[in-house]
C-alpha cells in the first residue's frame, strides 16, 4: 500500500507537471502566433494577376457536363486497369 501511494504521488506530480507544461507550451505558442500575425501583414498574399478569368471559370464550371466527368472516370479507370502480370 505504501508503495502504491508513492507511485500515486508520482502519478499525481506527473499530472500536474504534464498539464502545466502542455498549457504553458501552447500558451507560448498563442503568443508566437499573435506575433506571427503582426509580422505577416508585411507579407500579404500575392494578388491574383488577372481578375477576368474568374467569371469565365464560374460560367465554365457550371457547364461541365456529366459526359466529361464520365470520360475522366473512364480515363482514370483505364489508367489504373493497365495491369501488371504476376
Amino acid at each position: 500500500m505504501e508503495n502504491l501511494s508513492a507511485v500515486f504521488a508520482e502519478a499525481g506530480i506527473l499530472m500536474i507537471v504534464g498539464m502545466g507544461f502542455v498549457f504553458a507550451f501552447l500558451s507560448v505558442l498563442i503568443v508566437a502566433i499573435n506575433i506571427l500575425a503582426k509580422l505577416s501583414v508585411k507579407f500579404p498574399d500575392p494578388i491574383p494577376q488577372v481578375r477576368r478569368p474568374k467569371t469565365v471559370a464560374n460560367v465554365d464550371s457550371g457547364a461541365v457536363s456529366p459526359s466529361v466527368v464520365a470520360a475522366i472516370s473512364t480515363a482514370v479507370a483505364q489508367y489504373r486497369k493497365n495491369k501488371i502480370r504476376n
Partner: protein, 377 residues
C-alpha cells in the same frame, strides 16, 4: 503413410492453441468493425489481418524470418513507420483555422487532461489484484486519451512494447467511436442556449503565416521539449512541404503513396503484437476501460475549458468546440458541427472546431514528449 502424418502434423488443426483461436476471433472482430461498421478501416483492417496472421500456428509470421517479424522490427520498433505517418498527416493538415483563432490552442491543451487523468487511473488499477502497471506502462496507456494513432504507437513502442497491440487497438477503436462517446458528454455539460452560440467568422490567414507556423512550432519544441521533436519534427516537415508551395511533388507523395504504403505495413506490424500472451489478459480489459475513460475526460475537459474561455472572451465561443480538442481529426470536429446543428440549424461550427481539433494533435504530441522526457528509458 509417413507423408500424410507429416502433413497432418503440419496442419493448423493439429497445432492450434486455444489462445490463438481466440486471437483470430479478435482479428476477425477487428475486420468486422473496420468493414461493416467503418471503424477507422485504413488501420483496423491491416491490424485485424495482422492479428490473424501472427496467430497462425506453425507459420511463424512473427518469428525470426517471418514477414511480420521483419515489418515490426524494421518499422515499429525503430519508430520509423509512425513518424512517416505523422509526416503524411502533417502534409494533409491545414492549420489555417488555428492560426486565425490561436486561443483555440487552450482547448487543445485542456483536452489533454484525458491523458494525465488516465495515467492516474492506470496506476490506481494496480490496487486491484491482477494489475501491475509500471509508470511506463501507465504512461503508454494514458496516451490513448490523446486520440492520435501514430502518437500512441510511437510512445507505446518506446515505453511499453508489450502493450503496443492493445493500446493501438484501443486508440483506433475509440477514435472510431468518437461520434458515440462524445455527444452525450457534450450535451450534459452545456445548456441549449450555449449550444446555440454562433461564432465570429474566421479571418483570412496568409500563405506566409501558414508557412512560418510549422517552423515556429518546431523551434518551440526544440527549445522546450526536444523529446517531442521526432513526432513534432516530422509533422512539421510534412506541413512545411504542404505550405511552402515549392515541393508539391514531395508533399503529394507524402500524403498519398508513401502514407498508404506505410499504413499497410504499420497495421500489419501492430497486428503482429496481438498475440494471445500479450492480449488475452485482464490488463487488456483495463486498457480498454481506461481508454473509454480517457476519451470521456478529455472531451469533458475540452468543453469545460471552452466555457471558461467564453467567459473571458469578447467574441462569443460555443463551448461545443472544446470537444474537438481531443484531436481525432477530423471526426471530432464533424461531431461538434453535427451536435451544434441540432440546436441551431444555421450554425455551422465545422471550421471553428478545426482549430481546437488540430490543436489537439499538437497537444498530445507535447504530452507524449513530456511523458518520454519524464518516464522514458
Amino acid at each position: 503413410m509417413e507423408s500424410l502424418e507429416i502433413l497432418w502434423a503440419s496442419t493448423g488443426l493439429a497445432n492450434f492453441a486455444v489462445g490463438q483461436v481466440a486471437m483470430m476471433l479478435v482479428g476477425l472482430g477487428l475486420l468486422y468493425l473496420a468493414i461493416a461498421r467503418g471503424f477507422e478501416p485504413l488501420l483496423l483492417l491491416p491490424i485485424g489481418f495482422g492479428a490473424i496472421l501472427t496467430n497462425i500456428p506453425v507459420a511463424g509470421f512473427s518469428e525470426v524470418g517471418g514477414l511480420l517479424h521483419y515489418i515490426y522490427y524494421a518499422g515499429i520498433d525503430t519508430g520509423i513507420f509512425p513518424l512517416l505517418i505523422f509526416m503524411g498527416v502533417g502534409a494533409m493538415t491545414d492549420f489555417g483555422a488555428l492560426i486565425a483563432n490561436p486561443r483555440m490552442l487552450l482547448l487543445g491543451a485542456a483536452a489533454q487532461f484525458g491523458i494525465f487523468a488516465t495515467l492516474f487511473g492506470a496506476i490506481g488499477l494496480n490496487a486491484i489484484p491482477g494489475f501491475d502497471f509500471s509508470l511506463q506502462d501507465a504512461s503508454a496507456i494514458a496516451i490513448i486519451g490523446g486520440a492520435d494513432g501514430p502518437t500512441a504507437i510511437f510512445l507505446a513502442s518506446k515505453l511499453a512494447p508489450d502493450l503496443l497491440g492493445a493500446i493501438a487497438v484501443a486508440a483506433y477503436s475509440y477514435m472510431a467511436l468518437v461520434p458515440i462517446i462524445q455527444p452525450p458528454i457534450m450535451k450534459a455539460l452545456t445548456s441549449e442556449a450555449e449550444r446555440k452560440i454562433e461564432m465570429k467568422q474566421l479571418r483570412h490567414v496568409t500563405k506566409m503565416e501558414k508557412m512560418v507556423f510549422p517552423l515556429a512550432v518546431l523551434l518551440m519544441t526544440i527549445f522546450f521539449l526536444p523529446a517531442a521533436t521526432p513526432l513534432v519534427g516530422m509533422f512539421c516537415l510534412g506541413n512545411l512541404m504542404r505550405e511552402c508551395g515549392v515541393v508539391d511533388r514531395l508533399s503529394n507523395t507524402a500524403q498519398n503513396e508513401l502514407i498508404n504504403i506505410v499504413t499497410i505495413f504499420l497495421g500489419l506490424g501492430v497486428g503482429s503484437k496481438l498475440s494471445a500472451e500479450a492480449f488475452l489478459n485482464v490488463e487488456t480489459l483495463g486498457i480498454l476501460g481506461l481508454g473509454a475513460v480517457a476519451f470521456s475526460i478529455g472531451t469533458a475537459a475540452g468543453v469545460l475549458m471552452a466555457k471558461v474561455l467564453g467567459k473571458f472572451s469578447k467574441d462569443p465561443i460555443n463551448p461545443l468546440v472544446g470537444a474537438a480538442g481531443v484531436s481525432a481529426v477530423p471526426m471530432a470536429a464533424r461531431v461538434v458541427n453535427k451536435v451544434g446543428l441540432e440546436s441551431n440549424p444555421h450554425n455551422f461550427l465545422l471550421m471553428h472546431a478545426m482549430g481546437p481539433n488540430v490543436a489537439g494533435v499538437l497537444g498530445s504530441a507535447v504530452a507524449a514528449g513530456v511523458l518520454l522526457a519524464l518516464v522514458g528509458p
